[in-house]
Structures are given as structure tokens and as C-alpha cells.
């Protein structure tokens, strides 16, 4: 009997603990009951499909990061060759290769030194006639790709945090995908725009332009683009006034920017002289020094403000500016706000493409919760009715064990911070089905033992002890498939796998331990001639 007392104490303790963690917070928030903060923090979290929100899957185009690295090293090599007086042309072909052509045999030594110094991340292969192919080293490729994805994720995190979304979830998925979940966000378009915008800011000195066409622009340079310059397009706004339509003007600018977004210390919305929203920025000390020198040396010339390869405006440099500036671009208040947010959170290392986007309106989520609860309640009622009719008083034990199972399941999910999704609710309902299965297995065995002319107590003991290993086998097999489901699953399906997994574990406990203890309790200190089963 002492043994039984301890079992009862265990059962009651488990009930109180899991009820407290799993069920009470839900009741408390529904009926405004008092609840300590640490417990409220454990309240069962709802998935996006129940709460409503935006679910985005993006791919980081890691080739962009490789191309950038290749272009930079090729550019540095070109510069170095020029310094050393080696006449050769450097061209980049694809993200991981560039070619050098026309190296005179006499200057091969100097070329090799320059290459070793300026392109350490590349393997060099010599071809015929002084031409060389440079290929990025495989480990560098892997590293750059990984870095690009991590940086992209961090940048998105900063942007989402600035957006002020509560409980966002941003996670890497596979090699180059990022999953973004924003609960409660209604304006998908804006969220997507802010997350996906590259946000590379470059301030570049204008050599020629603006011009209406590319040919007009290049007339002064004889139709070719000098090697250290490039052509960019954008607004033809060269003063502080309102700009023309974007993409309508051509500029010839220095390839090397004066300052970039990396030099920014902060950015915020301001009003310009014409009371138009604009984005003001301040620079970090290093950027400010460079900016001050460049503006001081080039008073009277134009400076192109290039955002994501498009010129926003190209104001004239009136005086030396060191640590602050302003970007005009005929923005609305919201556009200016979003732009300053993007500039504050830094540029993405590569372009992002959207692979999947899903929006669940709050009303749709509420519908799902309602159907889920109805289905659970109906399932529970049907099972309870059946068990009571078929197994009579023993059925009561089974139903109590079943409720116990559901409470433990809720408690476990809340405790580990699992997310309840609609498929998760389905897992919940199915757990009831499995829970009953275990009890039926035990009860049918007890019936057999009773028919074999055993006493009630002996029959119950034998029924439980013989079924333990069967239950073990069936549960383990189901756990195996739940584990693969988890592995396969994304989002909502994962919720299902987790519910199923935890449900199986808690069911082993309730059907073997709790149900048995209930029987022992009912039979204790009593002579029972027949079992109601």
C-alpha cells in the first residue's frame, strides 16, 4: 500500500505541474486570471497559420557575392599592373573567373608578383600568348557563399527588428535559403520591399553627364568607357530641386566610390529645403575623412548618389563636406522612412529572390482555430462515449488517462516552446486516437485473463505487464515515422511531427502508469468479485 501511495503522489504531482504549465496560462489569458510572469512567458505559442501573418522563403543569390569579390580583385590587379607598367587588360567573365591578356613575355616576372600580391584568393592558369585565367579557390568560394547567407540573414534580422514586428522568426534553411516569418504583419508588399531591397549606397564622382542617351554621354570620351569609370543611370536631378523620372539620365562616374553604405553611422528622415522628405545621413570617422578630402578637392563638380545601381540625385558639391549629407530623390514620407531604415540596417551582400510567399489573414487563422477546437471536442466526446459504453467503469479510467495525456502534451509543448499549428491540432486529435488504442490493448488483454479464470487483481496485473512490450514496439515504430516527418517538415508540418512525438511519449506514461495506478487505487482495501470492463 505504501507503494500505491507513492504512485498516487507521483500522478497528482505530474497532473499539477503539467496543468500549471500547459493549461493554466491558456485559461488565465482567456478569463483574465492572475498569472506570474515566468509562467505567462511559457504560454503555448501559435503558429503563423493560426495567428495570421506573412511567411516568406528567399534565396540568397550567392553568386553576387562571388562576382563582387572577383571584380574587386580583378580591379586591384589592374591597378597594380598599371603601377608596375605592365600593359595588360583584365576582364571578368563569370562570378568566379577573370582573364588577363596581353602580358609581354619580358614582364612576366612583374606580372606574377603583382598577381600573387593582389589576387591571393585565385588560382592562376597560364594560356598562350601572355594570357592567364584566374579561378577562385574552391575553399574561398565555399566561404564566401556561407558568409553571404549569414550576412543576408543578419541584415534581414536588423531590418525586421527595425520594422517592429513582434516575435519574428528568421532562419536559414538549407544551403542558401532564408525563411522569414512575420506574425501579424498585414502589409506584405512593404515588408517584402524592405527585406528584399539590396540597399547598397555608393557616392561617386561624376565625370560626364547627365546626358539623355548613352551615346551623348560618351561623345567626349570617344565612345568608350574608360577602364576606371562606369555608366550609371537614374534621375537627372543635379540640383536640390525635384528630380525627373528615374532611369532617364546617363552619368559617367568614377568606378571607385568616395564613400559607401558601410561608412554610414546613421540615417534618418529629414525635410530638405523644399520641404520634401529626404534621407539625411552621418558618416563614421574614417568615411568622414575620405568624404571631406574628396569633396574639398572637387568643389564645383557633381557627386552621384547611387542606390542599388540607380542614381537618386547628383547634386553639385558647393563646399567641403565632412561627416553628414542628404539624399534627395522625390520620395514620399514613407519611402524616405523605409530608405533610411534600409540604410541603417546595412546592405545585403547579394540579391534575394523570393521563392515562396504566403499570407494568412487573421480571420482565416481564427477560423482554423475554431475548426481545430471543434474537431478536438467532437473527437474527445465520441471517444469518451464509446469507452464508457464499451468498457463501463473501466472506461472511466481510460478517459481519465486520455485527459491526462492531453494535459501532459499541452504542458510539454508549452514548456519546450513548441509552436501549435493547424496540423499540430490534427496531431493533438490523433493523439487521442492512439491514447485510446493503448488502453484498448490493455483492457482486451485483461478480459482474456479474466476469461482464463484469474482473479481480478491478477488479471489486471497480467494485462498490464504483458502489453508493456507491445506498447513499446508500437510506440517506437510510430516515433520512427514521426522523426522522419520532422526531418522532412517545414513550418506547420513540423508542428504536427512535434505534437505527434510528444503525444506518443506522454501516452506511454499515461496508459501504462496512470491507468494502472487508477486501477490499483480503485481495488485497494476492497474485495472486488468482478471487474466492470
Amino acid at each position: 500500500m505504501k507503494n500505491l501511495r507513492w504512485k498516487l503522489i507521483t500522478v497528482v504531482t505530474v497532473f499539477v505541474v503539467f496543468f500549471g504549465i500547459g493549461v493554466y496560462p491558456i485559461l488565465a489569458s482567456a478569463y483574465h486570471l492572475p498569472i506570474p510572469g515566468w509562467l505567462a512567458a511559457h504560454q503555448l505559442r501559435l503558429g503563423l497559420d493560426l495567428k495570421g501573418g506573412v511567411h516568406l522563403v528567399l534565396r540568397v543569390q550567392t553568386d553576387d557575392a562571388l562576382r563582387l569579390e572577383t571584380e574587386q580583385e580583378a580591379g586591384r590587379l589592374q591597378q597594380e599592373l598599371k603601377t608596375r607598367g605592365v600593359p595588360a587588360t583584365v576582364t571578368t567573365s563569370d562570378p568566379t573567373h577573370f582573364r588577363v591578356e596581353g602580358v609581354p613575355p619580358a614582364q612576366e616576372q612583374a606580372f606574377r608578383q603583382a598577381a600573387t600580391q593582389e589576387a591571393p584568393n585565385f588560382d592562376r592558369n597560364s594560356g598562350v600568348g601572355g594570357s592567364y585565367t584566374f579561378e577562385m579557390k574552391p575553399n574561398v568560394v565555399i566561404q564566401l557563399r556561407e558568409d553571404a547567407v549569414v550576412q543576408a540573414r543578419q541584415t534581414i534580422e536588423r531590418r525586421v527588428n527595425e520594422l517592429g514586428v513582434t516575435e519574428p522568426s528568421i532562419a536559414q534553411q538549407g544551403a542558401d535559403q532564408i525563411l522569414v516569418q512575420l506574425p501579424g504583419v498585414a502589409d506584405v508588399g512593404r515588408a517584402k520591399e524592405i527585406i528584399g531591397r539590396l540597399g547598397t549606397l555608393e557616392l561617386k564622382l561624376v565625370e560626364q553627364g547627365p546626358a539623355g542617351t548613352r551615346d551623348d554621354l560618351l561623345r567626349a570620351t570617344g565612345g568608350i568607357v574608360p577602364p576606371d569609370m562606369e555608366v550609371v543611370t537614374g534621375a537627372s536631378d543635379t540640383g536640390a530641386g525635384v528630380g525627373a523620372a528615374a532611369g532617364s539620365a546617363f552619368y559617367l562616374v568614377r568606378r571607385l566610390p568616395v564613400v559607401t553604405g558601410n561608412d554610414l553611422r546613421s540615417a534618418r528622415v529629414e525635410l530638405d529645403e523644399n520641404n520634401q522628405p529626404a534621407v539625411g545621413f552621418t558618416l563614421k570617422p574614417a568615411g568622414a575623412t575620405a568624404f571631406g578630402r574628396a569633396t574639398g578637392e572637387n568643389i564645383g563638380r557633381h557627386l552621384a548618389i547611387v542606390l542599388d545601381k540607380s542614381v537618386q540625385s547628383a547634386p553639385r558639391i558647393e563646399s567641403r563636406i565632412s561627416d553628414a549629407g542628404r539624399i534627395h530623390g522625390s520620395y514620399t514620407q514613407e519611402e524616405a522612412q523605409d530608405l533610411s531604415l534600409i540604410l541603417r540596417s546595412g546592405a545585403l551582400p547579394a540579391t534575394l529572390t523570393y521563392l515562396e510567399e504566403r499570407t494568412i489573414g487573421p480571420s482565416l487563422g481564427a477560423d482554423s482555430i475554431r475548426s481545430g477546437i471543434t474537431a478536438s471536442a467532437v473527437g474527445l466526446l465520441l471517444i469518451t462515449a464509446f469507452m464508457l459504453v464499451y468498457y463501463k467503469l473501466s472506461g472511466v479510467n481510460a478517459v481519465i488517462a486520455l485527459l491526462f495525456n492531453l494535459i501532459i502534451l499541452l504542458g510539454l509543448m508549452s514548456y519546450i516552446g513548441a509552436v501549435m499549428t493547424l496540423p499540430g491540432i490534427a496531431g493533438f486529435v490523433l493523439t487521442m486516437g492512439i491514447g485510446v488504442d493503448s488502453n484498448v490493448l490493455i483492457f482486451e488483454r485483461i478480459k482474456e485473463e479474466l476469461e482464463a479464470q484469474r482473479g481480478v487483481r491478477a488479471a489486471i496485473n497480467a494485462g498490464f505487464s504483458r502489453v508493456v512490450w507491445t506498447l513499446f514496439d508500437t510506440h517506437l515504430a510510430a516515433l520512427i515515422s514521426a522523426a522522419f516527418l520532422f526531418q522532412f517538415g517545414t513550418g506547420a508540418i513540423r508542428g504536427f511531427a512535434v505534437t505527434l512525438f510528444l503525444g506518443l511519449v506522454s501516452n506511454l506514461f499515461t496508459s501504462i502508469f496512470v491507468s494502472k495506478t487508477l486501477f490499483e487505487f480503485e481495488l485497494a482495501n476492497r474485495k472486488v468479485p468482478a471487474l466492470s470492463i
Partner: protein
């Protein structure tokens, strides 16, 4: 109360009928898939789904006509969504906008403007789902491999806990259930979605559940009925567990039906798959799984040949009183 008391059905006698029936359903399913294909949900096929909620009732036909102009000849699906009183319609088109930049939702914009121009009542979009082709491709192979790997996991586990022939029986029965379920999905034109795959994976777990209970009893009886023919022991075991098999499948079916009727639009395919899977899982546990063991070991084999000494990992249960009781039930 007893649904089945001391039954003595000769299940193995019916195994050929069962196998033929299963093949008929499976082949019909293959024919349905061959001619009409498996309808793929938007997660797998890619495409754009939006759910507009109209201010007043609109017919599915009205919405379809509005879209026909923009998506001429396209494979447009328009369905009532959820409770009819809510005036929600699901629209699905196979296109998505370009993946580059933020324009994946270009098709959604097209649908919305087509609906606006058609003079339908005002609406707001309560949900949308846009899946590019890359994701669908990835999910298809992921779903396939998850199913295959979980089958291999089951085979290994049962082979380890029982005997290899039992593992084969369980896996054949499970594959049978998957094929029958796929056939029914094809007959009733349910979209293959992530939820349906989840249900299919769940079925692999639960159809094995029934099978294991029967196998467990066969293993137990093999020890106590060493002189009986294997087929006799198998029949005996199925009969002994029949009540339990029917009751638990019945209760599991009750919960799946609750999901089917009350679980809402999103879980419809999931619940349907579960319902079919539970029924076929029970059927295959009784008629198929054990029959495979019989085929594998030869139906005239004596039980002694399969006695526990050959069991790879005998379970620690089995109190000695076992044989007395089973002999009584066998007689």
C-alpha cells in the same frame, strides 16, 4: 461487452481474395493517375492561390468568368472556400510572377485587378500563397525521400525486434496502404499537399501499429504452439487480437472523421487521407501482413521452425503461464 468473442475465422484462406481486391484498387488507382495525373497542390506544383472574401455572395462561375479574360485558356481553379456564409472563394492559377526581386506576387496583382474590373462585389484578400517552381521541386523530392526512409526505418526496426520475414510483412503491408491511399486520393481528386504527405507519413506509422500488435501475438503464440502449423498460429493470433484491432481502428477512425467533418477547409485533404489510411491499414494488418509471413516461410512450415530460439532479439516478457492460456483459446 464483446464485439468479437472467441472468433475463429480462417483469415489466411481469404488471402488470395484480399490480394486480388487490393490489386484491383491499386491498378485502378494507377490507371487514374496515368490518365488524369495526381493533382498537385500549390506547394508542389508552384503557382498562385488567393482567397478573396467578398462583401456579398458571388458564384464560383462569376469569379471564373472574371478571370477567364486575363488568364485565357489557363488551368484556373475556382472553389468555394470554407463556410459558404463567409463568401470566401479560393482562386488558383498555375502562374507566378518572375522570381527575381519582389515581383513573385505579380500574378496575384493580376488576379486582383481582374476581379476588380469584372464588377463583382468588393473584396479583401484574406489569404494568399505564392510558390515558385524551385520550392515545389525541392519538396517533391524531400517528401519522396522522407517516405522511403521512414519505410526503411520501420523495416530495420521490425527486423531487429522480430524476424526479417516479419519486417518484410510489415513493410509490404505499409506499401500496400500507401498505394491504396494514393489510389483513393486519385479517385477523389484531392490535391497532393504538404498536409497530405504528413498524413501519408503518419499512416506508415500507424498501419505498422496494428501490424505489430498482431505480430507480437504471433511471436508469443509461436513459443507456445511449437507443434502447430505456422498458418494455424497466424490465424489464431489474428483472431485473438481481432476485437482490439477493430475497436482501436474504430476509435482512431472516429477522431479522423471528427477532423474530416469539423477540422475546416485546410485539413480536409489531411483528414481524408487519414480516414482512408486507417481503414486500409486495418485491412492490410489482418489480411496482408501475416499472409506475407506465411508466403515467405512456406505455409506448411511448422511453428517450431520459427520458435524463439531463432528470434534475433527476444523480448523480455513472457511469463511461463502463457502456454496454458493460449492452448485453451486455441482449442
Amino acid at each position: 461487452m464483446h464485439i468479437f468473442k472467441n472468433t475463429n475465422f480462417d483469415f489466411l484462406k481469404w488471402r488470395w481474395h484480399a490480394i486480388i481486391l487490393s490489386w484491383v484498387i491499386i491498378l485502378a488507382g494507377v490507371a487514374a493517375i496515368w490518365t488524369k495525373g495526381i493533382p498537385m497542390g500549390v506547394e508542389f506544383a508552384g503557382g498562385t492561390v488567393i482567397i478573396p472574401q467578398f462583401e456579398q455572395a458571388v458564384s464560383v462561375e462569376q469569379v471564373r468568368t472574371a478571370l477567364d479574360r486575363t488568364f485565357r485558356g489557363g488551368d484556373i481553379v475556382v472553389q468555394q472556400y470554407g463556410d459558404p456564409a463567409q463568401n470566401q472563394v479560393m482562386v488558383r492559377v498555375p502562374q507566378v510572377g518572375a522570381e527575381q526581386g519582389g515581383s513573385l506576387s505579380a500574378t496575384q496583382t493580376q488576379i486582383e485587378s481582374a476581379l476588380k474590373q469584372a464588377g463583382l462585389p468588393g473584396f479583401k484578400v484574406v489569404g494568399s500563397e505564392i510558390v515558385g517552381p524551385v520550392v515545389g521541386q525541392e519538396l517533391r523530392s524531400k517528401g519522396f525521400w522522407a517516405t522511403v526512409l521512414s519505410l526503411i526505418g520501420l523495416l530495420l526496426y521490425i527486423a531487429f525486434r522480430f524476424q526479417f520475414s516479419f519486417g518484410v510483412g510489415a513493410v509490404v503491408a505499409t506499401i500496400h496502404d500507401l498505394l491504396i491511399t494514393l489510389a483513393f486520393l486519385a479517385f477523389f481528386r484531392y490535391d497532393m499537399s504538404l498536409n497530405v504527405i504528413a498524413a501519408i507519413l503518419t499512416i506508415t506509422g500507424f498501419s505498422t501499429n496494428d501490424t505489430i500488435v498482431i505480430f507480437d501475438r504471433i511471436r508469443e503464440n509461436l513459443r507456445s504452439h511449437r507443434r502447430d502449423a505456422l498458418d494455424h498460429v497466424i490465424n489464431l493470433s489474428i483472431n485473438q487480437t481481432l476485437g482490439r484491432t477493430i475497436i482501436t481502428s474504430g476509435t482512431a477512425l472516429l477522431t479522423a472523421l471528427a477532423l474530416f467533418f469539423f477540422g475546416g477547409e485546410v485539413l480536409h485533404g489531411f483528414a481524408f487521407t487519414m480516414v482512408v489510411g486507417i481503414i486500409t491499414g486495418t485491412y492490410s494488418s489482418v489480411f496482408i501482413a501475416a499472409a506475407i509471413i506465411s508466403f515467405w516461410r512456406g505455409s506448411t512450415a511448422r511453428a517450431a521452425a520459427h520458435a524463439p530460439s531463432t528470434v534475433a532479439a527476444p523480448s523480455p516478457q513472457q511469463p511461463p503461464s502463457r502456454s496454458k492460456q493460449n492452448k485453451k483459446r486455441a482449442s
